[in-house]
Chain length 190, copies 2
DNA sequence: TCCATATTGGAGTATACGCTACAGTTCTGG
DNA sequence: CCAGAACTGTAGCGTATACTCCAATATGGA
């Protein structure tokens, strides 16, 4: 089912509309009606290009996550600080989309097996990247230990991100800094 | 509008039904129809006793959280380990209800101001309890530092809990132990 | 040019759900 | 025992939603 050019363009238009609605009105504002109105497209056209509304939403969220990746090529050159920074940036700068991400991961992931697996997989990939970076910085670490630490660190980041999204006065970057192994000043115990 | 005895009993019946449905079918299974059928009650009776479906759900979740509180009297005798343990127990043992809690906190909290404030408040209370316990165990800590640590610790616990709920193979208790300040030489088993 | 295939719009479908109106029944304090 | 308040069940209202159907039209490779 090769696409014609117009179809591809319409697809882009739909994704833009979805992204915009997601950013401005949260996940609640994204109804099929809203998307098709915003994109100037009929419902039939939408379903000619997407299998479901969720597919469009996922696509947008995926794009937002990729946009802050410090090493999109997978060259293995990212540091722990880079990765933490990327996570914090995603949570604070693209906060409307980060909200959606958490709402999907938690709200739907805890209910829907398929989504849960999707979330777990992407989470594990992230854990691996954190663990790799950690080992690159502290070569004395065993892989198992690095993974364990990465897991706890990502959990903490997720929790901090949640706090930040719920309470905008919460300074996520400040707290996230403490998670890094060697803090320049104020040595935090571990 | 003082309640009659029958009304109070009906209320209990509705809460039991809600709790049961919540545990067995998750938040999706809890429709008004399901509740009223399970409780042998008409919709009219339900709304005579509750303002909304949510009220009943909140009530059930609140009860489940209180049930694992290591110091329900607020005597100030709970240790950090107690608090962590209670959190882990809530997440793992009452996992269906913990799921609901997170779904409400995240799914609705990120959308609905009222719910967000509710969640933030209860979160702050928990942070304070963790910080107090931490100070009791390490009297050299300043209140600000204790709070900061408590915040990060709770964030990590929340994140770990999320992992545990998404992936049942994830051993939350194991990871949570690492968060405590002084690990007494990795003693396995409990 | 031809024509198989892709695209389009939007009215219409199916359905689910929270909640209410209301008339009849039960409760309970005095 | 009785008056007024609380309680009860049923029927159905109102609304919102994702998605389908299909006839008409556009596209672009041969």
């Amino acid at each position: 089912m090769a696409r014609y050019r117009v179809g591809i363009e319409t697809r882009e238009r739909i994704l833009s509309a979805t992204r915009r609605l997601l950013s401005e009105g949260g996940i609640e504002g994204v109804t099929l009606k809203a998307i098709t109105a915003q994109a100037n497209v009929g419902a039939g056209s939408f379903y000619n290009l997407f299998d479901s509304k969720e597919e469009a939403v996922f696509e947008v969220v995926r794009g937002a996550i990729e946009a802050v990746d410090p090493d999109p090529e997978g060259a293995g050159t990212d540091t722990l600080a880079d990765l933490v920074d990327a996570f914090v940036t995603f949570m604070t700068d693209s906060s409307p989309i980060a909200r959606i991400y958490l709402q999907l991961a938690v709200g739907r992931g805890l209910t829907d097996r398929t989504i849960a697996e999707r979330v777990i997989r992407s989470h594990q990939r992230r854990v691996e990247r954190f663990a790799d970076a950690w080992q690159r910085e502290d070569t004395s670490l065993t892989p198992a230990e690095a993974t364990r630490r990465a897991q706890v660190m990502l959990a903490a980041l997720t929790g901090l991100g949640l706090s930040a999204l719920l309470d905008e006065r919460f300074d996520m970057r400040e707290h996230a800094r403490e998670l890094l192994p060697d803090v320049p000043a104020a040595s935090t115990g571990r």
